[in-house]
Subunit: 144 residues, 2 copies
Amino acid sequence: MTNRIEVDKVIEELRVRGYRMTPQRILLTKIVLETIEKHPSLRDLHREAQRVLPGTGISTIYNTIMMLESLGLLRVFYLDGKLYVDRYKPHVNIVCRGSNIIRDVDGLTLEDIMRVLDGKGVKVKNPLVLVIGECDDIKTQGPA
Amino acid sequence: MTNRIEVDKVIEELRVRGYRMTPQRILLTKIVLETIEKHPSLRDLHREAQRVLPGTGISTIYNTIMMLESLGLLRVFYLDGKLYVDRYKPHVNIVCRGSNIIRDVDGLTLEDIMRVLDGKGVKVKNPLVLVIGECDDIKTQGPA
DNA sequence: GTATCTGCAAACCATTTGCATAGAT
DNA sequence: ATCTATGCAAATGGTTTGCAGATAC
């Protein structure tokens, strides 16, 4: 079930770009690629990394995430005071106020959501829709 | 331009419900009703309140906001580690990643947003759509 | 060998809480 | 007079930074 080829490709790509591929970075890259659909938080990734490399510091996780973001391999957003990692590609997330669970709803278009708001389909009460993106006047800094 | 009547009605309503209407609460209620469309943060409201009542503590602002939320007069959400106040009514917000500006887009339906994502109209780059609401299994605690 | 990376620890930043005092009723 | 509300100050909970030592190259 693991996308080993993809992982190896990314790691090789990073090495070529001059990044030192430490055990921590290799591990985290794997973890990120395997779990990104579940919207892991910084601490989720830290916990997961420590299962394999117990001494891993959270600042290493943090730095690596930021590195991967600057390379356009993931996107970071902050919600409820926590840092979450997400796919870079625009898509639709449904966040539950009560449980803080973030569901990824691939294949669900905004039209579908509208239908939900109109009272049919997926149950989301009192929805607040946030379209997080970049203003027209903010320069997009795509993948380096 | 001020909705004095509305303000007075809310304040009277709060008094009737048994809340002690201190100068701070009266002031904050006014400020909230006047600025809520601009999505003020906790600190925005604090700063604004201090212009009139300099000694006002941020915990008073915090407590009052929470009181108003529990009464269904506003809604609170957390983004980027900060607390924002918003109207209770479901609607559409557009948040700019770069500037952190939250724009309220009344009259813009989700259908319109979809059109945007399809490449027309309002310019939002790399949008990430968050539908923040309540899961089916989380009990809604509407206005008391 | 050396420049970068790690991980500890501390700084930071905004919210949230505790509590003695002030104040609305 | 009473009991709630205020505001200071400290606790909290997360991210972010600094830096001495470890390590990938």
